[in-house]
């Protein structure tokens, strides 16, 4: 069970969080069909670092951008969703 440092609540157990989707798969309602298909129905699915969207469901209910390695599980950043994603 991961320990995720919520920018509001501090380090908390994964049991309080929900994984939502990779950041790249966020689809806005104005997206074209090909873009939607690309974002929603395909994935980079990297084995390694990945930017993801999580929610601190049972904590502050906030949405976070989490930079996480999908193999080592190392988390190098957990930012509020409205913060710019570092490139």
């Amino acid at each position: 069970m991961l320990l995720i440092a919520c920018p509001n609540c501090g380090p908390r157990a994964q049991a309080e969080f929900t994984f939502e989707r990779p950041l790249a798969s966020i689809v806005t309602p104005t997206e074209t069909l090909p873009d939607l298909i690309h974002k929603l129905f395909t994935r980079d699915n990297p084995r390694g670092p990945s930017w993801e969207l999580w929610r601190h469901t049972y904590g502050c209910a906030g949405w976070l951008k989490v930079h996480r390695d999908t193999h080592s599980h190392q988390i190098s950043a957990a930012l509020p969703v409205d913060m710019e994603t570092p490139s």
Binding site: L40, R43, D44
Partner: protein, 418 residues
């Protein structure tokens, strides 16, 4: 191939079991194959076997990055059944079940396919209606399915909690008598041995690192044991589909997640069937060695780690005890995890890809062991003919683009919602 039989064992006993040959060779890769299968799991090995046996394509290599059967084939809860609701699914899985029924003899390797019955418990009237719908759909397709009365349940599974104090009281069950379990490792080994005997090269410790293309057509693969040419290449790597497809610049409708399972210490027989439930997401069976094999929901986030979260196991333990209270004092002996390739409708993908000569078999989520023979059969057909078999035609890669998804649970495109 050296035949296995009771007699040959007896003979072996008299000579100190000294004369057994290797079950499969350890060949060096050739420079070119007609077909290369990437991935030596049950599916890849079965594909090679049926390519050689059914289609006469024998210049085939199975490339396995480590040891055959070490992927999800070697780490699943071994439940075999065809009790799906959607016709495309139950047709494929029923075909599979029929192949399971002949597998040990066909391969001359005892895969211990045990048809002790696979049962879904229902915990409410609405559960029972959904089970009836599933059962009726199966029966309409000629597949066995039958309701169990509470009395039958009590008799067959005396340790099941049938009281109304349960959080989800059991009110009935839908059984598939022909469902059951099989010895997972034996499936990989049996297919490897039989394929090897037909001339297939099973090459272990050979990781594919790249897919060679010339003018948009596949010409071979780069591996840790050098480059190997091929006319056709079939991806069959379960949890790593995305990684391997990326070598040909494909992005798949697949996300790699993780599913755990665990076993208890072995005891004498206590659970005689495979038990699943419509409301409690745990499944339980007892292996021939006596351990109780248990599993439940996946970990619900992308990972290649093969390390599960402990709270998941804790939850599944609670679910199993809720079904069988006597399990409380049994001890978990070992827990483990596998990387599952979650497709975006919960159904597999078997077919062609936009890359000429490249084929894909993946997206089995956490339910592909039962499909091993049918997956191999239809994939072999697709690889040999260049187009899908009727059974795998619905499972095309482009169905997400067109919208013709096959969503058994109706959970939608997010893998962690299923």
């Amino acid at each position: 191939m050296q035949r296995y039989s009771a007699l040959s064992l007896l003979r072996g006993g008299l000579n100190g079991q000294k004369s057994w040959q290797r079950a499969w060779r350890d060949p060096a890769p050739k420079s070119h194959y007609d077909v290369i299968i990437i991935g030596g799991g049950g599916h890849g090995l079965a594909t090679a076997y049926y390519l050689a046996k059914v289609h006469g394509v024998r210049n085939v290599a199975v490339l396995e990055r480590s040891w055959i059967g070490g992927g999800n084939t070697g780490r699943n809860t071994t439940i075999v059944r065809s009790n799906y609701r959607q016709p495309a699914l139950h047709n494929l899985f029923e075909f599979s079940l029929k192949l399971w029924e002949g597998m040990s003899d066909d391969l001359n390797y005892n895969v211990m396919f045990s048809q002790r019955g696979a049962m879904f418990l229902g915990h409410s009237d609405s559960d029972m209606i959904r089970l009836a719908e599933r059962g009726d759909a199966m029966r309409a397709a000629g597949i066995d399915a039958e309701f169990m009365t509470m009395d039958q349940l009590r008799k067959k599974l005396p340790l099941l909690d049938l009281s109304d104090k349960a959080r989800y009281p059991i009110v009935g069950a839908l059984n598939q008598p022909r469902g059951g379990t099989a010895r997972h490792d034996a499936v990989a080994w049996g297919y490897a041995r039989a394929a090897d005997a037909l001339g297939v090269d099973v090459i272990q410790n050979c990781e594919v690192l790249g897919i060679d293309r010339v003018g948009g057509k596949v010409t071979g693969v780069q591996t840790t044991r050098g480059s190997i040419g091929a006319d056709r290449v079939g991806i069959c790597v379960a949890g790593n589909s995305g990684q391997v497809a990326a070598m040909a610049d494909l992005r798949l409708p697949i996300e790699s997640h993780l599913l755990q399972a665990f076993v208890s210490e072995p005891v004498k027989p206590m659970i005689d069937m495979v038990i699943m439930s419509q409301s409690i997401h745990a499944y339980v069976s007892q292996s021939d060695k006596g351990e109780i094999v248990m599993g439940g929901d996946p970990d619900l986030y992308p990972t290649y780690s093969q390390r599960g979260r402990p709270d998941r196991i804790e939850g599944v333990a609670g679910q199993c005890i809720a079904l069988f209270p006597a399990l409380s004092r049994l001890r978990m002996l070992r827990s483990w995890a596998g990387t599952t390739d979650m497709s975006f409708d919960g159904s597999p993908i078997i077919g062609t890809t936009p890359v000429d000569g490249l084929y894909l078999n993946g997206g089995w989520c956490y339910g592909g062991f039962k499909a091993t023979p049918a997956s191999g059969w239809t994939y072999a057909h697709t690889l040999a003919k260049g187009e899908p078999h009727a059974l795998n035609a619905p499972f095309s890669l482009d169905r997400f683009e067109t919208g013709a998804t096959i969503d058994e649970t109706g959970s939608g495109p997010m893998p962690h919602h299923r």
